[in-house]
């Protein structure tokens, strides 16, 4: 999926550990993700697979016990891991911004919407009145009725869906090159989810920014994204265009994930399908394939050797599974 020079963000073989009292948790291992200019890249996977960690690692807002052990994050030609705190802060809210999972807690409860929206424009030239007008325009664009007077309100006077709209308005007010969206619809109900996704899609088209969209919801990813990265237990197991991933999933995990999507179930059933087993413990370095304990197609090689990414089609669709290795003989 590497589009060469067109990429805005290139995460190359990023590995990241969390220090914990019981040992080091290898939260990300050799994660490679590329976000081309103007495209929307979805990151999907179960809870705890490291997809949010990836987003926070890019904007470098992880907890203090996180430690990058390898790889690089190249954004607009510079490795973000080489930047000091001041240089990194200059990028945040300027070249990149973020939408968070829980709109109920993302806004400061004792500052008005206006104060918070004007605050984030602190680097922009112009006076208070101009920044206020910008804020009102941004609210209007995300569909907040009567934005002029709503600027005076506090976050608790809005519903969850409205608060997420405000967060989106703020994230896009700064016209970033890259928008990181960390499960922005998870805390909202289904009807709101559709509205928010449509809104994001429209605004992205207007502004032309790139988006890294983190979600566990396959439906929203299919709806919104151009490319998809499937993560499992801290590793990228498959990547490709939305069409490739959904029509021709290569990795057994992606296949299982798609089978579990209630929206794709054709026959009537009383039992929703699940993937048996749990995400493996990431405390020790795993041997072999990360998915071997839950994989229906597991064979001997999976237990000893970590699979490399194998191309499925020529357009950059790859998956890390020994079954796709054309050079080896088929398993018995």
């Amino acid at each position: 999926m590497t589009q060469g020079d067109a990429a805005l963000l290139d995460v190359n073989r990023l590995s990241l550990d969390f220090g914990s009292p019981r040992g080091r948790v290898h939260a990300l291992r050799d994660v490679t993700v590329s976000v081309p200019k103007g495209r929307i890249v979805g990151v999907v996977g179960e809870s705890g697979c490291g997809k949010s960690t990836l987003a926070f690692a890019i904007i470098r807002l992880l907890a203090g016990n996180a430690e990058v052990t390898g790889g690089e994050i190249v954004f607009e030609g510079q490795n973000l891991l080489d930047l000091n705190a001041r240089q990194m802060r200059a990028l945040r809210g300027q070249r990149m911004s973020m939408i968070f999972q829980d709109p109920m807690t993302a806004l400061n409860p004792i500052r008005t919407i206006e104060q918070q929206m004007v605050d984030i424009q602190y680097r922009a030239p112009g006076g208070q009145a101009g920044k206020r007008r910008h804020a009102a325009e941004a609210l209007d664009r995300v569909g907040i009725p009567d934005p002029e007077s709503r600027l005076q309100a506090y976050p608790h006077q809005f519903s969850g869906g409205m608060r997420q709209r405000i967060c989106i308005a703020m994230a896009l007010l700064v016209e970033p090159a890259l928008l990181l969206a960390d499960e922005p619809t998870t805390a909202l109900d289904a009807t709101l989810e559709v509205q928010i996704i449509d809104l994001l899609k429209d605004l992205q088209r207007d502004i032309g920014c790139s988006v890294l969209f983190v979600s566990h919801h396959l439906g929203t990813v299919a709806e919104l994204c151009d490319d998809v990265v499937v993560m499992y237990a801290g590793e990228v197991v498959e990547r490709g265009s939305v069409r490739d991933i959904f029509n021709n999933p290569g990795h057994p995990y992606t296949q299982a994930l798609l089978q579990c999507d209630p929206g794709r179930i054709r026959e009537r059933t009383r039992h929703l399908p699940t993937i048996p087993g749990n995400v493996p413990n990431l405390l020790g370095m795993p041997r072999g394939c990360i998915f071997k304990d839950r994989c229906p197609h597991v064979f001997d090689r999976c237990r000893h050797e970590r699979p490399a990414h194998h191309a499925i089609a020529t357009d950059g669709h790859t998956a890390s599974c020994h079954l796709l290795d054309q050079t080896a003989e088929a398993p018995a």
Partner: protein, 313 residues
């Protein structure tokens, strides 16, 4: 808002009635006949009986309580058994000394402790954080009267920098010099206490989502701390300070006794020792009132800081 104040007023009355009633019951459980103590060992039974009748001690307890409140409503808090002066005048005469002491103590404690707590939270696990942590626990653990005694010994007796007793005669400067040691002794435990509370709530707020969001927009750390986190982190401290007035009153009692300062504290100790019931009642009435006022002020300050509280008033 007005509804809140009316509700608060009713609550205040309820608290005062409850406190005074409790005190009546407790005083009656304490052995020792006030008349015998007041009149001395050679008093005749007739004199005692006369004094009992005058103080209303022969009435059943509920009647005494009701009589007391009826008098208070009329603005009469009784008369001092010894001097025959009105209790209200005596108590209100001593009140400014105590209020000055408490406000000075809490003000300097808060002014030192809030920045200290903030600093410890921002630079957590550094040397300064650890040192203030240990010192805080130390000052919280040492009772204020021990602090008062050592402050007296070191600064007044050994070093002779400051006067040892009294509240000073004439002149603002003299009054201030007399206030320093008691305020130091009363406030120092609060420095530790408040700085710990501020540190804990600051750490909690700095870990919250909205702070992370502010950081994701690249806001300067200084602005995040002072505009986004501190006004929120200060809320529990304001409540604690409001309730803490009660605690400070008892700390002030010790300080006033140790430094022989005029004030409510010295007054109540003497009154209890001499079974001077009207003074005891009057003092408790006033201090309970002070407590209600200080918690109300704390609530109002919180409402000023937090729009969510403002709406719930």
């Amino acid at each position: 808002m007005w509804l809140y104040l009316v509700r608060r007023l009713f609550l205040a009355v309820a608290i005062v009635v409850l406190a005074v009633t409790l005190l009546f019951v407790m005083i009656h459980a304490v052995p020792g006949d006030p008349a015998a103590i007041i009149l001395g060992p050679r008093a005749t039974p007739e004199l005692k009986a006369a004094l009992h009748a005058k103080m209303g001690l022969d009435d059943p307890l509920p009647v005494q309580i009701l009589t007391f409140f009826a008098d208070v409503v009329r603005g009469d808090m009784g008369t001092d058994v010894f001097t025959q002066r009105p209790v209200s005048r005596i108590v209100l005469g001593q009140l400014p000394f105590t209020i000055t002491l408490i406000l000075t103590s809490i003000a300097w404690a808060a002014l030192v402790a809030i920045p200290l707590g903030c600093y410890s939270a921002i630079r957590r696990n550094t040397m300064i954080d650890k040192v203030t942590g240990v010192l805080s626990v130390g000052t919280i653990a040492i009772p204020s009267f021990v602090m008062a005694l050592y402050a007296l010994l070191i600064f007044a007796v050994l070093l002779k920098w400051l006067p040892a007793i009294g509240a000073g005669q004439g002149g603002l400067w003299d009054a201030i010099r007399h206030l320093i040691l008691p305020a130091l002794a009363v406030g120092i435990g609060w420095v530790g206490y408040i700085s710990r509370i501020v540190r804990a709530s600051m750490l909690e707020i700095l870990g919250e989502n909205h702070v992370r969001m502010a950081r994701a927009f690249g806001l300067p750390e200084r602005r995040i701390v002072f505009r986004y986190a501190l006004p929120l982190a200060i809320l529990p401290t304001v409540t604690v300070l409001g309730v803490g007035m009660a605690h400070l009153l008892s700390a002030a009692v010790f300080a006033e006794v140790v430094f022989a300062r005029p004030g409510i504290g010295g007054l109540i100790v003497t009154a209890v020792n001499t079974r001077n019931y009207p003074i005891v009642m009057g003092t408790v009435l006033v201090t309970t009132g002070l407590f209600v006022i200080s918690t109300t002020i704390a609530d109002l300050v919180n409402a000023m800081l937090d729009p969510r509280v403002r709406e719930s008033l």
